[in-house]
């Protein structure tokens, strides 16, 4: 079985403006490239944005090669919008479009969707989750990687509670850089696209650690995060540091009762990137895959239409059959109960 956990259909400005209520309808949402407008980015090379928004052409690209059983769609939105009501309106319009274009039965039935929410509008986010939770084609919630506080902080709790209550994992995606977010590095704004593209994996780890440092995983044991934009191969190195800091500094975080590198398995998964296990970016080191692409944590996703997704071959190279099966489908099905139910797969509790 194969689940493609990361497909990113693109919504045109026209589609947004058709769906946004006033006063947001009057805002001319200039279309930055899906990786933002701070830097020149490679997305223009690969993305025919019209094709990326057309259900038939997306289906052809994702299912055309055959034997993909499900694809989970997470559109990028337009990045952080400072007015949280605007942000929720855009998220709602995104979900309306996705439901209508991809999930209402007219498109390929193997498509599933994410409920996009804006974390800056907690009440609006909960409302949006409740609005779509009854639609079984929506199998997860999706949030942007960047916010103004870490996910473990108290203000976000109602969002995670709503997601967990409905059995919806939270997919975390790095959205557009539109200059309304914080600097993309802790030393000020990077100069080049390549820096931001590299550093985003670290931001995913920051969020991962905050779930641990706050005890959120303990308060909501059913909550799951799927980090869609990097971190799988980076996580072990930083978890080994967190292990040291837990042993030394447990007194500050006494709710953590096991090694962070073990604890993370309870609540976090990461979408594969093609550099996992390749210390030079190209050549697989078989001794490293157990560490940098553990069978427990990795979830395959093509990231269509972006240039940087792993192919299935890349994602499973060096893995035994059992681990390969987990990466290609098992971990996604275990983490996303609605998907498993839709595909008629029973997952061990």
């Amino acid at each position: 079985m194969v689940v493609d956990a990361a497909v990113h259909p693109s919504i045109s400005t026209e589609e947004y403006l058709r769906r946004l209520p006033g006063p947001w309808r009057d805002h001319n949402m200039g279309l930055p490239t899906p990786l933002g407008r701070l830097w020149e980015t490679p997305i223009d090379e690969v993305a025919d944005l019209a094709a990326a928004g057309d259900p038939e052409r997306v289906a052809e690209a994702v299912f055309g090669a055959g034997d993909v059983d499900a694809a989970i769609l997470t559109p990028l939105t337009r990045g952080i919008l400072p007015n949280r009501l605007h942000a929720t309106a855009v998220a709602a319009a995104t979900n309306d479009w996705l439901a209508e274009a991809f999930l209402d039965g007219s498109a390929d039935e193997r498509f599933y969707g994410s409920i996009r929410v804006a974390v800056t509008d907690v009440e609006g986010a909960v409302r949006e989750i409740e609005r779509w939770a009854g639609n079984p084609r929506f199998v997860q919630v999706a949030v942007g990687l960047r916010a103004f506080a870490h996910f473990g902080e108290e203000q976000y709790l109602p969002i995670w509670e709503a997601a967990a209550a409905h059995g919806l994992p939270v997919y975390v995606q790095d959205d557009l850089a539109n200059a309304a977010e914080m600097w993309h590095s802790v030393a000020g704004q990077p100069v080049h696209w390549a820096e931001a593209d590299t550093l985003r994996a670290l931001t995913a780890i920051v969020q991962m650690a905050s779930v641990m440092g706050s005890g959120l995983y303990e308060r909501l044991p059913d909550l799951r995060f799927i980090f869609g934009d990097g971190g799988l191969d980076l996580a072990p190195t930083l978890l080994w540091r967190l292990n040291n800091d837990w042993r030394a500094g447990r007194v500050e975080v006494p709710w953590i009762e096991e090694l962070p590198s073990t604890l993370v398995q309870r609540y976090a998964r990461f979408v594969c990137s093609y550099t996992d296990g390749r210390p030079d970016g190209e050549t697989l080191d078989p001794e490293l895959v157990a560490v940098t692409r553990p069978g427990t944590l990795a979830i395959y996703g093509s990231h269509h239409p972006h240039w940087d997704g792993a192919t299935r071959a890349e994602a499973t190279e060096g893995l035994g059959d059992e681990d390969a099966a987990r990466v290609l489908a098992g971990n996604a099905l275990e983490t996303i109960p609605r998907l498993a139910a839709a595909l008629g797969v029973e997952v061990a509790a």
């Binding site: 980015t41 490679p42 990687l145 916010a147 506080a149 870490h150 977010e181 914080m182 993309h184 590095s185 802790v186 030393a187 000020g188 990077p190 100069v191 080049h192 390549a194 820096e195 590299t198 550093l199 994996a201 670290l202 931001t203 780890i205 920051v206 969020q207 650690a209 905050s210 641990m212 440092g213 706050s214 990097g230 191969d233 980076l234 072990p236 190195t237 930083l238 080994w240 540091r241 967190l242 292990n243 040291n244 800091d245 837990w246 500094g249 500050e252 975080v253 953590i256 090694l259 590198s261 093609y274 550099t275 210390p279 030079d280 970016g281 190209e282 080191d285 001794e287 490293l288 560490v291």
Partner: protein, 379 residues
């Protein structure tokens, strides 16, 4: 950096093979001592002798105030300030042969004060630790990054001094350091062939614990992740801006920020460089070549894996045999003991590279040193 050798000893003097080099030793003066070395005009005007600025403080829960509790001097001297205690613990007990000083006092908002503090640190190093024959401690020329001309002048002041073997900066900048505004500083370092060591500070700084998506709440998270965040910003920046390509003698050491995290980032950049070269026009040297030729890391705090064989495998894959240089971080609390920090799974050849050979080659240090009075101290 000139090709220096330790002065040839008298024919009868014993020489010892260099096996352990410590790339991160925090010897720092007490505030009352430091002011004696700082420029008078700044002390009398801007600082008004407010010594609190010189005392490290962190607003995170810094365990034991950051110090080894068994490193205090006999009369209660702060760890790292009593010479005899330092030498007994570092040369005698830890059996280190050479050590690199990385004195740290926090930077604040005022560039004039920052420069004055660093000028004081450099003068203090020269007079207190670098005025001995047969140096075993080497100094770092501390410079601020918020005043590039002042930093350049300070490098020029000390570059000819044989005791100073590198420049020391903190990662706090307005932009990542590949930004063109910093270029004259790296050009100066390259011209003098002095590596630039980067070491964070946990006390006074412009923003504590900031991340691209908020601020760390716990020290647990902050200590593990903030320094990789800081160093990664500059590493990626120097590579993509082509700073390494343009200045082959510009070399960087990332101190006390961990090691293995760099590899997934470099892997990513390697793929970018292969696949998207058009978006990396200034990066005329590949990320891996930059890394191998011009970047090093100090080891402490060494990542500790649940399965030590995995750590050894990752160290090998991450080219620790070239890139990693041992450090204790003496006298800080998270001291890495040289006898046990590297797990047994690390083979002898790699161990030798990490414990001394990489630093010896990088800093052009001699393979032997004169015997000293602490050689026979029981560990």
């Amino acid at each position: 950096m000139t090709d220096l050798q330790v002065a040839a000893p008298a024919a009868s003097a014993r020489r010892v093979a260099v096996k352990r080099i410590d790339c991160d030793v925090h010897l720092t003066p007490m505030p009352a001592t430091l002011v004696d070395f700082m420029p008078r005009d700044v002390l009398d005007t801007v600082m008004r002798k407010d010594l609190r600025r010189l005392i490290p403080r962190s607003c995170y829960l810094l365990l034991g105030e950051g110090l080894r509790q068994d490193a205090w001097g006999p009369d209660g001297e702060v760890p790292g300030t009593h010479k005899e205690t330092v030498k007994r613990q570092l040369w005698g007990e830890a059996k280190m042969d050479f050590g690199f000083m990385t004195p740290l006092v926090g930077v604040g908002a005022d560039p004039a004060v920052n420069l004055a503090i660093m000028r004081g640190l450099n003068a203090w190093q020269a007079e207190t630790w670098l005025n001995e024959d047969n140096l075993r401690f080497f100094g770092s020329i501390c410079v601020p990054v918020d005043n590039v001309p002042g930093a350049i002048a300070e490098i020029e002041r000390w570059a000819g001094h044989e005791g100073f073997r590198q420049i020391l900066i903190q990662p706090d900048g307005d932009r990542p350091f590949g930004h063109p505004s910093y270029l004259p500083l790296w050009e100066t370092a390259a011209r003098h062939r002095l590596p630039v060591a980067m070491h964070f500070n946990e006390s006074n700084r412009l923003q504590m614990g900031i991340t691209p998506t908020g601020r760390f709440t716990t020290y647990f998270e902050y200590h593990a992740i903030s320094h990789p965040l800081e160093y990664a910003a500059h590493l990626t920046s120097w590579i993509t801006a082509g700073t390494f390509a343009r200045l082959p003698e510009f070399k960087v050491v990332f101190v006390e920020g961990g090691f293995l995290w760099h590899r997934p980032l470099i892997a990513r950049m390697s793929r970018q460089w292969e696949a998207k070269r058009g978006f990396l026009a200034e990066a005329t040297k590949s990320p891996l070549e930059c890394l191998r030729d011009q970047v090093r890391f100090s080891s402490q705090p060494l990542e500790s894996a649940v399965r030590p064989k995995e750590l050894a495998a990752y160290l090998r894959a991450a080219e620790a045999d070239k890139l990693l240089m041992f450090a204790t971080d003496y006298p800080h609390y998270d001291f890495d003991d040289p006898d046990v920090a590297l797990p047994p799974a690390v083979d002898d050849a790699l161990r030798g590279r990490i414990m001394s050979e990489n630093a010896r080659e990088f800093y052009n240090l001699p393979a032997t040193r004169p015997g000293g009075p602490y050689d026979e101290v029981d560990a």
